[in-house]
């Protein structure tokens, strides 16, 4: 357990909370902590804070607790919390906004989620489309979970679901340019997952 000192909330923290609220278009004061979001959340077993607690810390202005939390990264974005919230708080969008803010601050509490996201975009950037076999491979390599889902691969291969050939589109340069352009104009540009994809 810990002591949370609320005597002074630094201006930076308040600004950060306001930025998250603005991006998610949520007024955190709307939340009355009924917990319906967390009651129905399918992913709580991987979380260190309940989604409700994420909102609570944002209400309190304690943004560091939220940025360092695994919860937004474990969130599957299924949207069930938002759909059922009695106060119309978009919890799902809050999770995305917190994730962006954390990444901007260089914090990635669930490295695997970040790696997966990165590899996915790289994959699309390289081919215009996502190629599952290479995505899985790359992910496993970078995340260190070398054997994950590997047992399914032979079955897929045998059934013609995956192959060595990659699916490319002719205009994949257009897509990579688009991705670069958008990310450059974006705060996320710092972390833009560029770099070549060998295949």
């Amino acid at each position: 357990m810990k002591i949370v000192d609320l005597t002074v909330i630094p201006a930076d923290d308040r600004t950060a909370v306001a930025a998250i609220a603005a991006e998610a278009q949520v007024n955190f004061k709307d939340c009355y902590q009924c917990g319906k979001c967390s009651a129905g959340c399918p992913m709580v077993q991987g979380m260190d804070l309940m989604p409700r607690e994420v909102i609570r810390y944002l209400q309190l202005g304690k943004v560091q607790e939220v940025l360092n939390s695994k919860t937004p990264w474990v969130c599957a974005q299924c949207g069930v919390c938002t759909a059922r919230c009695p106060q119309n708080v978009d919890i799902c969008a809050t999770m995305r906004a917190v994730r962006h803010a954390a990444k901007d601050a260089g914090i990635t509490p669930v490295r695997e989620a970040d790696v997966f996201e990165d590899e996915f975009i790289k994959n699309v950037r390289a081919h215009g489309r996502s190629n599952e076999q290479y995505l899985a491979m790359k992910y496993n390599l970078r995340s260190g979970h070398l054997m994950q889902d590997v047992d399914s691969a032979p079955a897929m291969f045998a059934r013609g679901m995956i192959g060595i050939a990659t699916h490319n589109i002719d205009s994949r340069d257009e897509v990579s340019a688009l991705i670069d352009r958008v990310l450059q104009n974006n705060g996320a540009a710092k972390e833009a997952p560029k770099g070549g994809d060998a295949s």
Binding site: Y32, Q33, C34, G35, K36, C37, S38, A39, G40, C41, V44, L49, M50, R52, E53, V80, R84, C85, P86, Q87, N88
Partner: protein, 660 residues
């Protein structure tokens, strides 16, 4: 030429201490149209008043300025005084020389100068006033109570006991409202039927009370003391003069209809009494489901009726009667939670029930004779989950407000379940526990001692697995996701206004708030009055509340009605709006702005330029107008004026004030 008398009071030294009263009188004598000015030590005393009367007579005065204390103190005293003289009581203006002059200034010169100005203003204003006569509005000494629940019954009994005739209009076929459906009442746990049904029979048999059951108010005309109310009594198909209430007919009817009184958990015949102790204690035929009326088949009930009371050709009865006062006790219904909460099964699961269904289940006269059994399979549930605030405090899906009674009856349900099923477990999901009321929090604490497990959080989903209902919630106090396999779930759903109350409100000019509850005239000071004089409120119709508060309010409304009916006549306030029809162009701006619906547009014939023409003009109902004057400012044509505060008199008052 007017003849103004000015009377200036010393008020002992209260005024005279800071105001040179004699000098004020001296100046007053010099003002235009002032024929007499005098001072008095205590004007409000008997000799003081006699002096004023004498002066009025002596100087043939036709209007009066009283330079005394605040009009809020003695304006009515002076009006009464003038009523004994030839001067019209409304030819009066009070200059506030005490509260707003002598008492707030220390310097006598300053006070005197200001007092002179105040007298000048009053003289200028009174000079332009005209005599007003209050009309006598007769009071019909009967009251109408709309709604026969506990609020309506209490109000009716109180009014009737005071000696006035009361008509109770009840939409259902019996008195009793929601209270008679309940099993026990918190926090004392006395049996609801035991305290409610005696009231019902008292109302039913009171010599001063007429009950019109199965009836609704169709229209209302008129104003305080004189409401002409049209009531439609739906056809009952039974002659209540002949019917003895033996009930033989109800046993013979072959039709089965869902029983709404039992919250859909049992069936009733098409000829039925709502419940055993119904008042009136006689059945009605539900025409929609009667085979005789619909298909001209059957007719079993008429065959068995020993008194020949059944008439299949009965028709609705519409009557119009005059009432002096109306009490609205239209109550509530539970929010229809099914379309709002698909995550709770949306009504798919018969064992997810409402609090009112639970009341019937636990009630000895209910469908299970008081045994708590699941509607789906009749088994006794061992794990029960109670969810509070379903629909309440949920602006996204339901209503934003707190329904106020659910915390207590939720605790009551937990207590009752644990009492009847000793090996059962009960979980209560709550957001807050709100128990202000005598003995309420103690009741809640006892429920915890009984073993009810309170969990702070809203339930996100109820789903079926096997024959159990899985509830997913969060205990926000431990931040743990909670999973409970329940046999039955009770939803404590929100109270919402009874159907049709919006229409009734607009018929009577009673405003509804954003949630459609009827609005009282003042949230603190006039809690049972409405903006329409003569119309009162009691019970949940005004907003969610529990039985004790409802009964309190009903008594308060009744006492207001008794106070009103106690008068033979009401003095109408003559200081109301008046239309100058020559100027009125009938654009109706005033109509929209009037809070009392006192202004209507009428077609009237005029002679203009020696031609007969018909024009639209505004017309003020003197029984409804309360004299706020909002209409006068809206009328840019200057056709609407407020008697007693006319544009002319106020303009002259301003002019006089500017001359200081």
């Amino acid at each position: 030429m007017s003849r103004i008398g000015v009377f200036i009071c010393y008020c002992g030294s209260n005024i005279a201490g800071t105001v040179d009263v004699e000098k004020v009188a001296e100046v007053a004598r010099t003002l235009p149209n002032v024929v007499h000015a005098e001072t008095n030590k205590y004007t409000c005393s008997d000799p003081g008043q006699a002096g004023v009367k004498a002066a009025i007579e002596k100087y043939n005065i036709d209007r009066v300025v009283m330079g005394t204390c605040s009009p809020r103190m003695h304006e009515l005293t002076w009006r009464k005084l003038l009523a004994d003289t030839p001067v019209n009581p409304y030819m009066l203006e009070v200059a506030n020389l005490r509260e707003q002059c002598s008492w707030v200034h220390k310097d006598k010169e300053v006070g005197t100068a200001k007092a002179i100005d105040l007298i000048k203003m009053a003289v200028a204003k009174v000079d332009k006033l005209s005599p007003l006569k209050s009309t006598q509005i007769p009071v019909t000494k009967r009251a109408l109570v709309v709604g026969g629940g506990i609020a309506g019954m209490q109000a009716a009994l109180d009014i009737a006991d005071a000696g006035y005739q009361v008509t109770v209009v009840e939409r259902e076929t019996s008195l009793g409202g929601k209270m008679v459906m309940l099993d026990k009442t918190f926090p004392t746990m006395d049996c609801s039927a035991c305290i409610c049904t005696p009231k019902m029979s008292e109302v039913g048999s009171h010599p001063n009370i007429t009950v019109k059951s199965y009836a609704e108010v169709e229209s209302v005309e008129g104003y305080v003391g004189n409401f002409d109310v049209t009531i439609r009594e739906k056809a009952k198909y039974i002659d209540y003069n002949l019917c003895t209430g033996c009930g033989a007919c109800t046993t013979k009817c072959p039709t089965k209809v869902i029983n709404n009184f039992e919250q859909g958990m049992s069936a009733r015949p098409a000829i039925y009494k709502m419940f055993a102790q119904a008042v009136p204690a006689k059945p009605v035929i539900d025409a929609e489901h009667c085979r005789k009326i619909q298909e001209n088949k059957c007719g079993a009930c008429a065959k068995i009726c020993p008194t020949g009371a059944i008439h299949y050709d009965d028709e609705d009865k519409v009557t119009t009667e005059r009432y002096g006062a109306i009490v609205l006790t239209t109550g509530y219904q539970l929010i229809d939670w099914k379309p709002l909460y698909p995550e709770y099964g949306g009504g798919k699961y018969p064992d997810v029930i409402t609090g009112l269904q639970f009341e019937r289940l636990v009630n000895a006269s209910g469908p299970t004779e008081g045994h708590i059994l699941r509607p789906s399979d009749g088994k006794e549930p061992k794990n029960v989950v109670i969810i509070k605030c379903v629909g309440s405090r949920d602006p996204h899906k339901g209503v934003a407000y707190c329904s106020r009674a659910c915390c207590m009856y939720g605790a009551k349900h937990a207590h009752q379940f644990l009492d009847k099923v000793p090996d059962g477990r009960c979980f209560v999901f709550y957001m807050d526990v709100r128990t202000p009321g005598k003995g309420y929090d103690e009741f809640y604490m006892n429920t915890l001692q009984d073993g009810a497990q309170y969990l702070r959080g809203r339930v996100s989903k109820i789903y079926k697995e096997g024959d159990r209902l899985v509830c997913l919630g969060e205990d926000t106090l431990t931040s743990a996701q909670i999973r409970i396999e329940a046999d039955m779930v009770v939803l404590e759903t929100a109270m919402v206004p009874a159907e049709g109350v919006d229409k009734l409100g607009s018929m009577l000019g009673v405003t509804r708030d954003k949630d459609l509850w009827l609005t009282e005239a003042h949230a603190k000071l006039r809690p049972v009055e409405t903006n329409t004089a003569g119309v009162f409120l009691a019970g949940v119709a005004q907003g969610p509340k529990d039985i004790p508060d409802t009964v309190c309010q009903a008594g308060a409304a009744a006492s207001k009605v008794i106070g009103l009916l106690n008068h033979d006549h009401l003095e109408s306030n003559p200081q109301i709006s008046r239309v100058n029809e020559a100027l009125c162009q009938g654009d109706g701006a005033c109509v929209n702005i009037c809070p009392y619906h006192a202004i209507t547009l009428v077609q009237k014939q005029f002679r203009e330029n020696s031609q007969k023409i018909t024009r639209t003009v505004a017309s003020v109902n003197p029984g409804l107008c309360q004299g706020c004057g909002a209409c006068t400012v809206t009328c840019r044509a200057g056709a609407m004026d407020l008697l007693g505060y006319t544009n002319e008199s106020l303009m002259r008052e301003v002019d006089a004030l500017c001359q200081w």
